[in-house]
């Protein structure tokens, strides 16, 4: 919200010289039983009123953020000869998925203060307020490292290709282990490291079909779900012994 307000204030004053026009390869992602990950193509054009006024380099930043969830980061330490979880830090808000694609390294097209306000870089997207451990920083670094190794956090410095300072496109891979929810896609246009326009849209990611049904049943009606799992197990056990008795004859 703060992000939006800041941007609106920034952008309200001057009339837009350059504007984003956007297209998406798909407007929702369905997680089915055989979901193996996916990718999303984000493309668009930069609309202008007049010819290009060269005041600083053009930057295009595309971010996709999954739903925010709190997460506990635990650190192992050696106790009595074995590795045991000891310290932990609760991170209040961390996106379950976060990808930043830019046409050039982020720091070349965005100022530090703009990043602080808009929370574009991965470090800024994570917030831990009540961290009590001194080395909380290393815990958030670990969170980014682990999620990055799972393909959940991505920084793609040259992932956006810009043609003729007018057309841009980027392909963002989505791994199989996505959390469902509304994914927010944000596109920022910068000139001389200052944001001049932005565009926000949402891409719903949801489990469908059997996956959806089982997940809902397990969480909304766990007793019934448990009974169902048991009856499947008993039926399978009984069926197996019945079939093999027949086969043995």
């Amino acid at each position: 919200m703060i992000r939006l307000i800041t941007l609106l204030m920034l952008l309200a004053v001057p009339a837009k010289a350059e504007e984003i026009v956007l297209g998406l390869s798909r407007d929702e992602v369905a997680i089915t039983a055989t979901f193996e990950g996916s990718e999303i193509l984000i493309f668009g054009a930069i609309k202008r009123d007049g010819p290009v006024e060269a005041e600083g380099d053009l930057g295009v930043i595309v971010t996709i953020a999954g739903p925010d969830r709190p997460v506990t980061v635990r650190k192992k330490d050696r106790r009595f000869g074995i590795w045991v979880n000891t310290e932990s830090v609760d991170v209040d808000v961390a996106p379950t998925f976060y990808a930043v694609a830019t046409n050039r390294p982020l720091e070349e097209i965005l100022t530090f203060t703009e990043d602080l306000n808009t929370r574009i870089s991965t470090q800024r997207a994570i917030r831990s307020v009540g961290a009590t451990v001194e080395s909380a920083e290393s815990f958030t670094q670990a969170l980014i490292r682990i999620r990055a190794s799972q393909g959940l956090y991505q920084t793609i410095p040259e992932g956006v290709s810009v043609a003729e300072e007018a057309l841009f496109r980027t392909l963002i891979p989505l791994p199989a282990n996505l959390t469902e929810g509304d994914y927010k896609a944000e596109i920022y246009l910068t000139r001389g490291r200052e944001i001049i326009d932005f565009y926000v849209t949402t891409i719903p990611v949801k489990k469908v079909g059997l996956e959806r049904w089982l997940y809902n049943l397990a969480h909304d009606n766990p007793f019934l779900y448990g009974l169902m799992s048991l009856s499947i197990a008993i039926a399978a056990g009984w069926g197996a012994s019945a079939i093999f008795t027949v086969l043995r004859r």
Binding site: F35, V71, V73, L214, A218, A233, S241
Partner: protein, 307 residues
């Protein structure tokens, strides 16, 4: 073919799961064991969250035990009365086990608990089995026959109060020891996702003095209900029973078990047991190794808000 497990929320290869189910099924058919104590650690190794592995395995054991107990009921080798006493203990133990499991889960120590339980129990059982079958092979070579260990007819078990008659087993003993055995097995079922046959069977033979022919059927009878109860507890408190995972393991397991039974008949009992012991020790060694060696990633993520 990758398949997305709705509760575990990971994508795994369906054939890998069918294969794992099949291999463990073959082994359980060959050795006449439940297989939970092999399957659960294997699920850890392929990246299923431990909480989901334990809960789902409990569900799978219901299926394999059910198919086993039907055969035993037909042969009348189930002591229902003893089974019920063991079951009462088992339900209490399972309830207690779940409370402990959920408490440690909140502390972020549940993986450690599960792994330690596995290292301790697999290590104990594996070592005992290994040396016993070595001895059996040596005796068989010396005398040409297998020495049957003598059972003590009277021990401290027979001096406890609350005696009860168990006609099928031909026993008149106190209900305290079977209830305690049941409690222990129930705790293990909840924490480790195992049936607990590997603890219960020796306890029934050596501690309670039950005749060998009713031991397996009776333990299966108890295991069905305890693991079913455990499944329900995990499903309602942790939401960690993954039915898709369970079905895949089941299909592989059921087929594997039938193949295994046939292989088992053709092999010598002592040889079988020594191989089982080696396998148990290998899994134990891998788990112990993971605990002792500095992990490449010291940090791990858990669901936030201490839930």
């Amino acid at each position: 073919m990758q398949i997305y497990l709705p509760i575990a929320e990971v994508s795994v290869n369906a054939f890998l799961l069918l294969g794992l189910g099949g291999i463990v099924g073959v082994l359980s058919g060959m050795f006449g064991v439940g297989g939970g104590f092999l399957m659960t650690p294997l699920l850890f190794f392929i990246g299923i969250p431990p909480a989901v592995a334990v809960a789902t395995e409990a569900n799978q054991i219901v299926a394999s035990s059910f198919s086993g107990v039907l055969a035993h009921l037909k042969r009348k080798t189930v002591d229902l009365r003893m089974g019920t006493v063991l079951l009462i203990g088992g339900l209490v133990g399972s309830g207690f086990g779940i409370i402990l499991f959920n408490y440690l889960k909140a502390l972020g120590q549940v993986e450690l608990l599960v792994q330690l339980c596995y290292v301790v129990f697999l290590g104990m059982i594996g070592t005992l089995m290994f040396f016993e079958s070595l001895k059996a092979i040596r005796n068989a070579n010396k005398t040409g026959g297998v020495a049957v260990p003598k059972r003590r007819k009277h021990n401290w078990v027979h001096n406890l109060p609350f005696k009860m008659k168990f006609r099928v087993s031909g026993l008149y003993i106190s209900v305290i020891p079977p209830i305690l055995v049941g409690v222990l097995v129930g705790i293990l079922a909840a924490i480790m996702g195992v049936g607990g046959g590997f603890i219960m069977v020796p306890a029934m033979i050596y501690l309670l003095g039950m005749p060998t022919k009713v031991v397996v059927g009776t333990s299966l009878f108890q295991i069905i209900f305890v693991t079913a109860f455990t499944t329900m507890l995990h499903a309602t408190t942790n939401f960690t029973v993954d039915v898709v995972l369970a079905v895949l393991l089941l299909v592989g397991g059921v087929i594997g078990a039938q193949i295994g039974t046939r292989i088992g008949v053709k092999m010598k009992a002592e040889q079988l047991r020594i191989w089982l012991a080696i396998m148990v020790l290998a899994v134990c060694g891998k788990l112990a190794f993971d605990l002792l060696v500095m992990p490449s990633e010291l940090y791990s993520l858990g669901t936030g808000g201490h839930s």
